[in-house]
């Protein structure tokens, strides 16, 4: 099954559930009909923004890797110099 079909089926199921609740008068139609769905969408958006913010704060960095890389490059250049391979410059 294609992924989009999975997502649409999920949305359909949730909508059907919500409409079912309205029909059975468990939730009274009118003001509330759209209130909860809108709250749901907005909180989904807020959750997304939260995840982006958290991820940004915890973004893993590795400044020491740049230094290690420089060492590796120097080591490799030295090796090739002794083997007569002309690697030139960057």
């Amino acid at each position: 099954m294609k992924h989009i079909v999975k997502i649409l089926s999920l949305l359909l199921a949730v909508s059907a559930f919500w409409i079912g609740l309205l029909q059975a008068a468990i939730i009274h139609p009118g003001y509330n009909t759209w209130l909860l769905p809108i709250y749901f969408v907005v909180s989904l958006g807020c959750y997304g923004l939260l995840m982006v913010g958290l991820g940004l704060m915890q973004f893993p960095t590795c400044p020491q890797e740049a230094l290690l890389l420089q060492h590796d490059i120097a080591e490799a250049k030295d090796f090739f110099k002794h083997k007569g391979v002309d690697v030139g410059s960057d």
Binding site: H3, G55, F59, T61, E65, A76, F79, V87, S89
Partner: protein, 246 residues
């Protein structure tokens, strides 16, 4: 029998490392040196797919072949720049290993992680082991705040829409079982980094066992290539395409 072959471990495995290059005269030599340094007891071959670099990349590769052996370094060049996806397909045709590693030639992918890829695959018998920059133990160097923000935003969006099963979708440092790569690559049509996304999403959809290892990514080219509006549009189009067709 089959069980005995499993128990023998990596003594029976060969790793074909495909490195597409374009104007990587210096970097290809460095990469080859580092691969040989970190994979001492491993049976591997390096397949350099060069797209007609004008800077003498192929000459350097020939010198490296002289030094390390033509059976360890294969030069399978093409006439001109033909794209990443086709470079992998081209490299695959000449791969004699039962595993294939793909990695970039610009030293953003460090060969020192190759043993951890191999180890992870042997431990879990995964079909694909992909490097991730976004977990603890991994990381990125050379990105400013804006770049990190777009990366994180893009990642959250992709996770929400696609449920890809991996934390780093656009990464291109991966180890594949050769048969798995052949299967997945035949069904991918995108270009550029969307191609990398498509590969991993299609693999997830096909139910392949995918594992991740943390890698560090030192971006030395970011300063020269800006992430502009057109790239963002391309990314969103790619997401939409993957959402609808996978």
């Amino acid at each position: 029998m089959a069980e005995e072959k499993e128990r023998k471990g990596d003594g029976k495995h060969k790793y074909s490392i495909i490195v597409p290059t374009y104007n990587e005269r210096l970097n290809i030599a460095l990469i080859v040196y580092l691969i040989f340094k970190h994979l001492r007891d491993v049976d591997f071959e390096i397949i350099v797919v060069d797209d007609g670099s004008p800077d003498g990349t192929q000459e350097i590769v020939k010198q490296l072949q002289h030094l390390y052996g033509e059976d360890r370094i294969l030069l399978r060049a093409r006439a001109k720049k033909l794209g990443l996806g086709t470079a992998y397909i081209h490299g695959l045709k000449h791969a004699t290993g039962d595993f294939v590693v793909i990695m970039d030639a610009d030293l953003s992918h460090h060969p020192k992680y190759l043993p951890s890829f191999i180890k992870k695959q042997l431990e879990t018998n995964a079909s694909i082991v992909t490097g991730t920059r976004y977990v603890k133990g991994g990381g990125v160097h050379g990105w400013n705040l804006m770049r990190k923000l777009t990366s994180r935003g893009a990642n959250v969006l992709a996770q929400t829409l696609l449920w890809p099963g991996v934390s780093d979708l656009t990464g291109s440092f991966r180890l594949y079982k050769k048969s798995v790569l052949e299967d997945v690559i035949s069904s991918c049509v995108s270009k550029g980094y969307v191609f990398q996304m498509e590969m991993i999403v299609r693999a997830t959809r096909k139910g392949y066992h995918i594992e991740e290892v943390p890698i560090t990514f030192v971006d030395r080219v970011f300063g020269t290539s800006k992430l502009g509006g057109s790239e963002i549009v391309e990314y969103l189009k790619g997401l939409g395409y993957l959402l609808l067709t996978t």
